[in-house]
Symmetry: C2
Subunit: 141 residues, 2 copies
Amino acid sequence: MKVFFAGSIRGGRQLISTYEYIIRFLEAHNYMIISEHVALQDLERIEAKMTEQAIFKKDTTWIEESDCVIAEVTVPSTGVGYEICHAVNHQKPVLCVYEEGAKVSAMVLGNTSKYIIARSYSNKQQLEEILLDFLGKNSRM
Amino acid sequence: MKVFFAGSIRGGRQLISTYEYIIRFLEAHNYMIISEHVALQDLERIEAKMTEQAIFKKDTTWIEESDCVIAEVTVPSTGVGYEICHAVNHQKPVLCVYEEGAKVSAMVLGNTSKYIIARSYSNKQQLEEILLDFLGKNSRM
């Protein structure tokens, strides 16, 4: 199953270690993450060599080719918000996870689409359970 | 002409004075801003009385009822990103403005949709010209 992972890039890289953790955890469970670059320490340098349009086309295409999307939404990110909406419009199940206490947009928390789930976590174990529960449900689809 | 204005709410309110400026400028030019609450100083208090779903439905409906959308994207915002995508999917012209030097998402800067324009500004006069130019073009549609 192909999973598109969305995390803040230009919005701020303060949670990059969480993104790495999520991606490694999912790969250890044999899920294919088709946007693992989000957790790369030198992502900005890599993306600086691509045009803005190339990045846009790459990400939107990957979303369209994915089976589902996981977005870490603790750090506000215009790009992640765009990607969540794009995924919903392509009928992709989307799991939005965030640290308990984070101020998360009503466009996520109040979203009425059947394709979106939003879950807060307060520790790694809880985060792992949320991820596996979502992916397990979508594997059976 | 009904204009939906999008600016960061939970992503951070540091540019609220800019949002107020934009909205007052447009209203002085007789444009109807259908989301002027974005510039309210006590918005969080007002929205705290609404459910997340009510906020989501209100904003998405307003976008769908608008003639065009203006988004100030200097401050990263998951909600603004979602709203931009929602507007594009409803064939609404979207103007994204940002302070020169801001790190803006490739989902905005590299967007290939004919409905999106992104423009940086370095002073108020330039911002005003960009706004009037966009609205003038869309008034004639």
